[in-house]
Structure formats: structure tokens, C-alpha cells
Amino acid sequence: MELWIKHGEREERAKVRRDGDAYEVTIGEVVHRVDAAVLGRGAYSLRFNGVQREVVVRASGEAGLRVSGSSAAWEVEIAEPLAHLAATTGDPAARRRHKKVTAYMPGRVVAILAEVGAEVVAGQGIIVLEAMKMQNEILAEADGAIKAIYVQTGQAVEGGDPLFELT
């Protein structure tokens, strides 16, 4: 299986092949022979020539995976090359900017700091969300005008609910 993988600044082509109970994973030019025990629910024990790493891999965001080791965690994007190609065609700026902004966590809207139609700049606070006694401002990710606001002060929102949209 051929894959495209991105971790931080690094983008690599990868190949995975099963070889008996082991895997042969090629990252760029480097071939790793890995003995992987599948522990279930995304947990693996990986052995690289004896060096053992226990990791948990879980979905993160839309196309990403979060790989947690014993002392750190890493965000990785992964796709099969055709799917990756399809996703990367089109205007890169348009892809990168999320015009419709959603709540990243459940909470309660305690203030709305801008009105529909207002011109806002990147980094400007638009909505204040409260969760666990902490207030968090949801910011505009880019310059633009507010096209819509989907919530009202006092409203409870779930993670993923749309909050507002920029033009």
C-alpha cells in the first residue's frame, strides 16, 4: 500500500507491506522492519530491532491521526496518493481557510463581539465561549466580513456546531 504522510513540515511518500507477522514500512528512502502487535482500539506495540514503543493512534480532525507515545504526541496527516491528489487540487488559499467557524469544544456562548456585516481582521475575537469555568475567545482566522452568526448569547453548543461564517 502506497501512502502520502505529512508530519509537521515533513511530507513523505510511504509504503506498507505485511511480511508474515511483521510489517515493512518505507518512509522516503528508509526501510523499517517493524514487529507490530495490534492491541486493539488504536493501540500498538511496535518493535524496531528490539526497541519497543507503545503508541496509540486515533483520528484527529478531518484527515489527521494523532499518534501518542509515552512522552509526547504527534499530529500526522495521511492519505492514499490519489485521494491526496484530489484534495490538493484547487485554490490552496481557499482550502486552507475555514470560512465557517465551528466550536472546538462544547460550551456556552457568553458574548458575541461582532455583528453580521461587520468587517473583521484575522485574530479578532468574535464569540466568547465558556466551558469549565474558563472563557475562550473564538477568533476570525482571516480578514473578511461576517456573513452569518449562528448562535445567540446564552446558548449551549456542542463541539463542531457552527458559530459564525466569514465572507
Binding site: 523499517h32 530491532n49 514503543r53 499518534v67 509515552s70 462544547p106 456556552r108 466551558a131 469549565m132 469555568k133
Partner: protein
């Protein structure tokens, strides 16, 4: 006066409710908990002998409904209420409701709580009792000359503060006499502009103090003892993050002097049960009383680990009327204990709260580790309450070994599905100031602000994240191919996979 308790209602939630019911169970006392609607499946409910709904999520409609809680205790035949920390624990009127309802309040008397709760009265009483407080006076200063004279009497540096003030407005630090006249005028003007009142007063400014607190315990027969200090200087926005006992800088002599001051403070208000006197400690071993917390502290386990005493057990015995026994004569610390507070927050994303479902959870185990948790694998961390998940507490023969043990505990800890403050503690363990015990109350905020503390491990990952992701993607794709046929078949496929993994003769020979 002595009366054995048979059933105790815990007016709290989360880890402290679990902590209390564990000791109740050991004592053969029935434990009853209250829970708000989102807490029906919380760990205290699952472990309690009895559990009663108390209202919807908001605290003021549930955990803060004092009279309803007292009425519930009466209805279910509870003898006593343990308030834990937070919520109703420091509300004298709740202690009074308990008294009026014939329910033992496991804590000090409402009179002692009132005395310690009023800033002005408390300061006066402490001064009368010979407890050192931060030098200064609340009386407004009428001129720059009066300010200079007063500052000279308590010694520089000093802080000029607005009498009507708050939020840093009208505050000026003054390091030496030549600066004071200008600072007095500036502070007065700012106070007038901000609060419509130009009155200011002067307090001694303590440079880079530590927060060191003394655990006291009093019985109902007038005896109060000190159980030694806790170092709680690592704070973020005035919230303790890491606590330890003993303090890396408190000598036996200083411990004795601070302990005596704390006992005087508690005795001055007729204090009984567990309480904590908080002090600022400067580099010259001067200490200044800040306030008394009239309840069990979050960080009580570090004291338990170095003294070998069970503070909740003692609280209950004291509430039953037992006098403090000989084990409370001259309590000295043995070894070193460190507690870290694990919160559902992302420490390197501005401590953004991270509610959600806990998918994987493995607490560290083995020698010298204690976990006081309020959650379990599969539990949902909700948005409604304080985001503390658990306290990890380690003990070892000395501080360096305790730090090493904490590092090991954090390496074993697995918690997935939500973000936690564990990466902050890993970063702290790599910090030379924390390692050497060189702490003060401003240090953590400063290091977080400057980026001196940051997430570790990204640089040393190598190909591991990529390889893990690739294998996971491959496995997921294999499973997807096997899936569509039927749910039953999918289970069989998985069982076969497990058998293969265990097959003798298989496995690499690396």
C-alpha cells in the same frame, strides 16, 4: 461528647468525593454521595454505598443547595456531612445549617470560619496572637511624608495600593526612599481616576516569595498541632499546579517556627479539625501569614505520604469527639512527596479546556505512586465543573528520587481522547529551576509566558509517528475490506486475527 458516625453524606463530587468515601469504607461508615444530572455515571456514584440526585448541572442548582443537602442528610439518616473542598466547604452559614439540622459538619465551627473569613478581623486577631503578617497598614496615608515615614518603618521594597482598589490600578512598587514621593502622588492620582477615591496605603513588598503552608489539625478538646509544611509555589494565575512536602528550603528550625505560628493562628480562633495556614516565605526565612483555609486542601495527600497519617480519617475521628493521640506529638516528615494536578486542559494551547470522552486510560502503578482520580476509562469529562481529572502523587526517599519517580509515572500514564496537563509536568521535570527546588510564586507564569517551558518530544520523534500512522492506516484499510459482509463475520475476523497473533512459531525473530 464522643459519638461514632454511622453514615456520612459527602457534599461534593470528583476526586475528593472518592477520596473521602474510601476512608469511610475503611472505617465501616456508610458513604452517601450527591450528584448533579451529568454526574450520574461519575466515579464517586459508582463507588458509593448510596447516591442521591441533587439537581441539574449548574452548581448553584445542585452542589451549592445547602439547605436541600442538610434536609437530604436528615432524610437518609446521615449523622454528618463532609464538605470536601470548594463548593460549601468554607461557607459558615452552611456549617450553621448543619448544626441547626442536628448534622455534624466535618470541619471547624462556623465561628472559626467567620473569624478566618473576614480579612480585617482575621488580620487583627493574627497580630494579637503574635502571628507574623505582611507588614503594612490599611489606614490611608495622608501625605508623601507620612508614606515615606511608614515605608521606612517597615523597610523597602514596599507596595503602595489604592484603598478602594483592585486589578492593579493605583498600585506602585517602591524600592527606595527617593522614589516614594513621586510614587505616592502617582498612585493617588490613579486611584482617584479609577475609583473616585484617592486614598492609598502601604504594604511591605515581598520579593519573589514562596508559597509555603502549614497543615494543622485541632481536636474538640482544645489541642491544635502542626503536621508540617507544603511547598506550593508552582502556581498558574494563583492556582496551585504542583505541591510538595517537605519544602526544599524549610529547615527543621524554620518548620518548628512556622508550625508554632500556625498553631497560634488556629488556636486564636478556637479552631478544630483540619485547616491550613498559608504563608509567604522570603529568601531570608521571614514568613508572613496570608490566610487560613478552613477545610481539607486539594494537596493534603503530600502531607499524608510524608507523615503516614490519614487526614480524612483524623477529620472523622476528631468530628466524633476523639482527642488527637500521641501519634500527633512532634510529627516529622519522612522522605519526599510531590503531587501534580492533572487537568483536562492543553497546557501549550493557553490551557484550553478539553472536555470529552476518555478513550484510553492507564494510571501509573507500582512503588511510591498514589493516584486520587475522579474519572475512569469510558467516562465523559463534562464542561460543567473544574477540569481536574486526578492528582498523581509520588513518594520516595528524597526529592531527587521523587522527581525521577514522577517522570516514570508520567511515562506510564496513558490518557487519550482528551488533552491533559501531563505535558506541562514533563516539561517542568526538564526545567533546572524546578529540578533544583528554586521556586517562587511568579516563576511558572513567567516561564509559560516566555516560552521557556514548552512541549517536549516533537524534535526527537524521528520516523516513529509516520511509521505508526502508516501501520494504523494499513490495518484500518484491511479491516474495512473485511467489514461490509456482516457484523458477526467481522467479530470472527477479529478473533482469527488475535489467534494468529498468538500462534506459536509465528512472530519475528528480531
Amino acid at each position: 461528647m464522643r459519638r461514632k458516625l454511622k453514615k456520612v453524606l459527602i457534599a461534593n463530587r470528583g476526586e475528593i468525593a472518592v477520596r473521602i468515601l474510601r476512608t469511610l469504607r475503611e472505617m465501616g461508615i456508610r458513604s452517601a454521595v450527591i450528584y448533579s444530572e451529568p454526574d450520574r455515571q461519575s466515579l464517586p456514584v459508582l463507588l458509593a454505598d448510596e447516591a442521591y440526585p441533587i439537581g441539574p448541572a449548574p452548581s448553584r442548582e445542585s452542589y451549592l443547595k445547602g439547605q436541600e443537602i442538610v434536609d437530604l442528610a436528615r432524610r437518609i439518616g446521615a449523622d454528618a456531612i463532609h464538605p470536601g473542598y470548594g463548593f460549601l466547604s468554607e461557607r459558615a452559614e452552611f456549617a450553621r445549617m448543619c448544626r441547626e439540622g442536628g448534622i455534624v459538619f466535618i470541619g471547624p465551627s462556623p465561628e472559626a470560619m467567620d473569624a478566618m473569613g473576614s480579612k480585617v478581623e482575621c488580620r487583627r486577631r493574627m497580630i494579637d496572637a503574635g502571628v507574623p503578617v505582611v507588614p503594612g497598614g490599611r489606614d490611608p496615608l495622608l501625605s508623601a511624608e507620612e508614606a515615606a515615614a511608614f515605608a521606612a518603618s517597615i523597610g523597602y521594597p514596599v507596595m503602595i495600593k489604592a484603598s478602594a482598589g483592585g486589578g492593579g490600578k493605583g498600585m506602585r512598587r517602591v524600592d527606595s526612599e527617593p522614589e516614594i514621593a513621586a510614587a505616592f502622588r502617582g498612585a493617588s492620582a490613579e486611584a482617584l481616576a479609577s475609583f473616585g477615591d484617592d486614598a492609598v496605603y502601604i504594604e511591605k513588598f515581598i520579593v519573589d516569595p514562596r508559597h509555603v503552608e502549614i497543615q494543622v489539625m485541632g481536636d474538640l478538646h482544645g489541642r491544635v498541632v502542626s503536621l508540617g509544611e507544603r511547598e506550593c509555589s508552582l502556581q498558574r494565575r494563583h492556582q496551585k499546579v504542583v505541591e510538595e512536602a517537605p519544602s526544599p528550603v524549610v529547615s527543621p528550625d524554620l518548620r518548628r517556627r512556622m508550625g508554632e505560628a500556625a498553631v497560634r493562628a488556629a488556636s486564636a480562633v478556637g479552631y478544630a479539625n483540619a485547616g491550613t495556614c498559608e504563608f509567604l516565605l522570603d529568601a531570608d526565612e521571614n514568613f508572613y501569614f496570608l490566610e487560613m483555609n478552613t477545610r481539607l486542601q486539594v494537596e493534603h495527600p503530600v502531607t499524608e505520604l510524608v507523615t503516614g497519617l490519614d487526614l480524612v480519617y483524623t477529620q472523622i475521628r476528631v468530628a466524633e469527639g476523639e482527642p488527637l493521640g500521641p501519634e500527633f506529638d512532634d510529627v516529622q516528615p519522612r522522605g519526599h512527596a510531590i503531587e501534580v494536578r492533572l487537568y483536562a486542559e492543553d497546557p501549550f494551547q493557553k490551557f484550553k479546556p478539553s472536555p470529552g470522552k476518555i478513550h484510553h486510560l492507564r494510571w501509573p502503578e507500582g512503588p511510591g505512586i498514589r493516584t486520587d482520580a475522579g474519572v475512569y476509562e469510558g467516562a465523559e469529562v463534562t464542561i460543567h465543573y473544574d477540569p481536574m481529572l486526578a492528582k498523581l502523587i509520588v513518594w520516595a526517599e528524597n526529592r531527587p528520587r521523587a522527581l525521577d519517580r514522577l517522570a516514570r509515572a508520567l511515562a506510564e500514564l496513558r490518557i487519550e481522547g482528551i488533552r491533559t496537563t501531563a505535558p506541562l509536568f514533563r516539561a517542568l521535570l526538564a526545567d533546572p529551576d524546578f529540578r533544583s527546588g528554586n521556586l517562587n510564586i511568579g516563576m511558572l507564569d513567567r516561564k509559560l509566558g516566555s516560552g521557556e517551558l514548552h512541549g517536549l518530544g516533537a524534535e526527537e520523534a524521528g520516523d516513529l509517528p509516520l511509521v505508526a500512522a502508516a501501520i494504523h492506516h494499513f490495518e484500518r484499510a484491511q479491516r474495512a475490506m473485511a467489514l461490509p459482509r456482516s457484523a458477526g463475520r467481522r467479530t470472527l475476523w477479529r478473533a482469527a486475527g488475535r489467534r494468529d497473533a498468538l500462534r506459536p512459531g509465528g512472530g519475528p525473530k528480531g
